[in-house]
Symmetry: C2
Subunit: 116 residues, 2 copies
């Protein structure tokens, strides 16, 4: 019974959000939604170097977003909790709302050049 009760939702949520605030990590997380994967598979799927992949995975594992299971020399990483899965559901919902045009956000990348 870990007593985390005095830590507010904001502390917890912000920590998770921060950990997901990286494009490659988001891609990894989404990839893992279909189930556990080895480091090698993740690496090839996302297109990252081996150390970078490993570092992102470890980063998220330390923050309890991922866990892993070992089998011989292979490491299978997977989503650590239903909460993360719930969050991913939310993300997908937001994504759809964006892509359908239901909502939009103006110029998250204002540095984007037009016609160059």
């Amino acid at each position: 019974m870990t007593e985390v009760s005095h830590i507010s939702f904001f502390e917890v949520a912000s920590k998770v959000l921060k950990a997901l605030g990286h494009p490659e990590r988001l891609r990894i997380i989404e990839y893992l939604q279909t189930g556990e994967q080895t480091v090698g598979n993740i690496q090839r799927e996302i297109g990252l170097s081996q150390p970078i992949t490993s570092q992102h995975l470890r980063y998220m594992q330390r923050r309890n977003i991922l866990t892993y299971r070992r089998e011989g020399t292979k490491y299978y990483y997977f989503l650590a909790s239903d909460f993360i899965r719930k969050l991913l559901d939310c993300m997908r919902s937001c994504r759809l709302s964006l892509e359908s045009g239901e909502t939009q956000l103006l110029d998250i990348f204002p540095e984007t050049k037009r016609s160059e």
Copy 2:
């Protein structure tokens, strides 16, 4: 018609998530869900110093999460887009799922001491 089409959802989303990955900023955002507020009100509500408050607001404004409106010497900040509002809805849904016990996440704060 800004052409952001070649920038994937992951880039956009991660940028927003990163910006929200801070407890005080989350609090601010949630506070603004009820409508626009002056810097002073936000500052008092969240309990931050004036410069810190201003900096967080500017940080989020630069990332197009907030916008402001000026009236005399007062600055009214408010949520910049429906997408952000949608995201907040998702957050609330996740929050409820956490608090109701429907989902949980184990030890996001492992450094938390027990009985000390």
